[in-house]
């Protein structure tokens, strides 16, 4: 009796909600899907209507919303621990094994059967974003400073290498640390004016900084080539051995007595970015267990308390900016040497947004989460290439779903850096997100 009484309103609520959603869908889809201009046989445009498609979409929305609402009502009625809570324990425990498995897969990828040029290129792309994600994770995840202009440091790194190689003929291996240092320098330069800013204001200034760098690169034509970019950037060498397609003296293939193949370079680049990404991870993980990393996290939790404990907020913030920027610079130098061509087009705001999305979806401060998020976002984007324009929808949908299911990212919990007994993960609800 009582059950029936509680069920019926739930059904009604769900129906009304679904109807409303269907109406909104109608409002959206009627102009967007229902009307379409096509080119007629005479070359003139004519309006084609697709009312059945609109109706179908509305039905889908109605059914989907209805089921979701019904499920929500049913869940609150049961008051049982949610699905995510039940699997959270095993998931965090499995984290211990997931990371080595991922690492092993990453190391063995080039020799796995069925892995060709395309898969390796995709691997390089994913690893570049993993590295950028890890770099930004220092600033956003650990220090809690929202940075929307991270791509600026990526650009500084890329242009540093390209220009140094072009004007001074320096090799990649000399330019790599220089690119990192220059990016770190720009990180500090950005850090100074934003020391007092928090949250939204910090985000806006960093966003502006990213745009300034891009616009300077675009307009300083005499130095950077402007919108034409820089082409013919020198490729990296393997201890002085080049990767020329034709083989020849002094090439990698000739030295090791191999058949010259363009795959060699791709495999080399793959391992190069893997090593760079792992370096980022290693430094971050080490620093997290050290006073500096703890000060970053403490600053994210409570800046005022930090000050009362004698921690210099200025230097702590600047080191976070500088270190994050340095790894962005490394990734930029790698990007330049891989593409052999760079232009300001590659360093637009959308790149910053994607890197930030990787960090947020992965879970602020979590190294594993960021790596998985990069794999899902960048790899997934490639996998769904067949869906053409629909993949944007899939992409957006996946992001919304993750944020509903896990609002604090894939791995939202925090592992303590030190413990007297056993280290137990700290639930995401305790950990501050940082407001600047």
């Amino acid at each position: 009796m009582s059950l029936a009484r509680t069920r019926r309103p739930a059904l009604g609520v769900a129906l009304r909600d679904a109807g409303l959603a269907a109406l909104i869908a109608a409002g959206l889809f009627l102009p967007m899907v229902g009307l379409r201009t096509d080119v007629g046989p005479t070359g003139a445009l004519f309006l084609r209507t697709r009312w059945t498609d609109v109706l179908l979409l509305m039905l889908v929305v109605f059914a989907g919303r209805f089921l979701v609402r019904l499920w929500q009502e049913w869940k609150t009625e049961r008051r049982a621990p949610g699905f995510s809570q039940r699997i959270a324990g095993p998931l965090s425990r499995s984290g211990r094994f997931v990371a080595p498995v991922f690492l092993l897969l990453a190391v063995l990828l080039p020799v796995l059967p069925g892995v060709g040029r395309y898969e390796l290129d995709l691997g390089i792309l994913v690893l570049t974003y993993v590295m950028l994600g890890w770099g930004l994770n220092i600033v956003v995840g650990l220090a809690g400073l929202l940075d929307l202009g991270y791509v600026a440091f990526y650009a500084v790194g890329a242009y540093s290498y390209a220009l140094l190689a072009q004007y001074f003929g320096l090799s990649f291996w000399i330019c790599l640390p220089l690119a990192g240092l220059l990016a770190a320098f720009w990180g500090i330069l950005l850090g100074f004016p934003v020391l007092r800013l928090r949250g939204d204001y910090l985000a806006i200034v960093t966003l502006g900084f990213g745009e300034i760098i891009r616009l300077v690169l675009l307009n300083w034509v005499t130095l950077t080539g402007g919108p034409n970019g820089i082409s013919g950037i020198a490729r990296p060498t393997f201890f002085g051995l080049t990767f020329t397609v034709g083989g020849g003296p002094g090439s990698f293939a000739e030295f090791f007595g191999l058949e010259p193949s363009p795959t060699h370079r791709v495999v080399f680049l793959y391992y190069l970015i893997l090593a760079l990404a792992l370096l980022t991870n290693w430094v971050t993980l080490r620093l997290r267990r050290q006073p500096l990393g703890r000060a970053w996290e403490a600053m994210r939790e409570d800046e005022i308390a930090c000050r009362s404990l004698g921690i210099n907020i200025t230097t702590t913030k600047l080191t976070a900016f500088a270190l994050g920027a340095m790894f962005g610079g490394f990734a930029g130098a790698f990007f330049a040497t891989r593409q052999a061509f760079i232009s300001p087009e590659s360093f637009t705001f959308i790149e910053s947004a994607i890197i930030l999305a990787i960090v947020v979806l992965g879970g602020l401060g979590s190294q594993l989460g960021v790596a998985v998020a990069a794999l899902v976002l960048i790899g997934g984007f490639e996998v769904f290439r067949d869906l053409q324009e629909w993949r944007m929808l899939v992409f957006g949908g996946a992001m919304v779903l993750i944020m509903i299911w896990k609002p604090r990212g894939l791995v939202g919990s925090r592992t303590p850096t030190v413990a007297l007994g056993e280290k137990r993960a700290i639930s995401a609800s305790m950990v501050a997100e940082g407001r600047g």
Partner: protein, 275 residues
């Protein structure tokens, strides 16, 4: 007794509002000095001046430590902490997402940071840091023990009950090895039993018996709970409307007419004089 902190004609103005005007007193070394007063008397403002969160409009603050005076009113906030002044907050400010132990290690940031070669040596894994960290963990453990929190060392600070959070904040301040501990309403929100325990802890901190190897530490506290204040203070300073109205031992303060008037109200004819 020699003073640890002397406050001389301290004035703090916010625009047209004078929160603290011309307050002078001295906190004695090895003693518990309490600052009391009705709400809005300027206690917390004065505290924020001493601990560097506000820069006083005029007046001077001198910390006497190691045979020479340090002018606190000229130092930046984090430098005051390094000079040996630790503080807690009226509304507890712990690093909620970090464990109790981590909170205490953050407090030892400065010594640990120096031992890492400012981060560079530690990343490379040089050995000096390991020993320094072990020492820091040992010190944190003794303070956790002193505050009865050793069982919760690996729990996030945000998950501790309120009374435990208050004690942890004191432990965190003490891990800095300060010479002067400033407590802003440490007994607020505690039940009578916890208040008594807190009084004992503060006395032990003053005498240097709270934890192994802890030197005696002078205490300056703001408190509303008269039971705690009268029970543990060696010296009391009373503020009202931003000015000092009395200064003396608990017994003298209890008998002071001006203090009684400030707390209980005055006769009608005096109202005009105050306004």
């Amino acid at each position: 007794m020699a003073p640890i902190l002397t406050v001389e004609s301290l004035t703090m103005r916010f625009g047209g509002l004078t929160a603290v005007k011309d307050v002078s007193f001295a906190a004695a070394q090895g003693a518990i000095t309490a600052v009391i007063g009705p709400n809005g008397a300027g206690k917390t403002t004065m505290f924020n001046c001493i601990t560097g969160f506000y820069r006083p409009t005029s007046g001077s603050l001198t910390l006497h430590h190691g045979g020479h005076g340090v002018a606190l009113h000229r130092l930046a906030g984090h430098r005051i902490a390094r000079a040996g002044v630790a503080r807690t907050f009226q509304n507890v400010r712990l690093f909620a997402g970090m464990t109790a132990l981590e909170n205490l290690l953050v407090a030892q940031h400065r010594t640990l940071m120096a031992s890492t070669g400012f981060g560079i040596g530690a990343v490379l894994g040089l050995s000096g840091y390991k020993a320094a960290e072990q020492a820091a963990i040992r010190r944190a453990s003794t303070w956790l023990e002193a505050c009865g929190l050793i069982d919760r060392a690996d729990d996030p600070a945000g998950s501790l009950p309120y009374g435990a959070q208050r004690r942890l904040e004191i432990a965190r301040a003490m891990c800095m090895e300060p010479v002067l501990l400033c407590l802003d309403e440490p007994a607020a929100g505690l039940n009578p039993r916890e208040s008594t325990a807190l009084g004992e802890l503060l006395r032990a901190i003053r005498d240097g018996t709270a934890a192994d190897g802890a030197p005696p530490c002078s205490i300056l506290l703001i408190e509303h709970d008269m039971g705690v204040v009268m029970g543990i203070s060696d010296h009391i300073v009373v503020l009202d409307h931003g000015g000092k109205i009395a200064d003396g031992t608990p017994a003298a303060i209890r008998a002071d007419d001006k203090v009684i008037a400030a707390y209980l109200g005055e006769g009608d004819e005096d109202e005009d004089g105050v306004a």
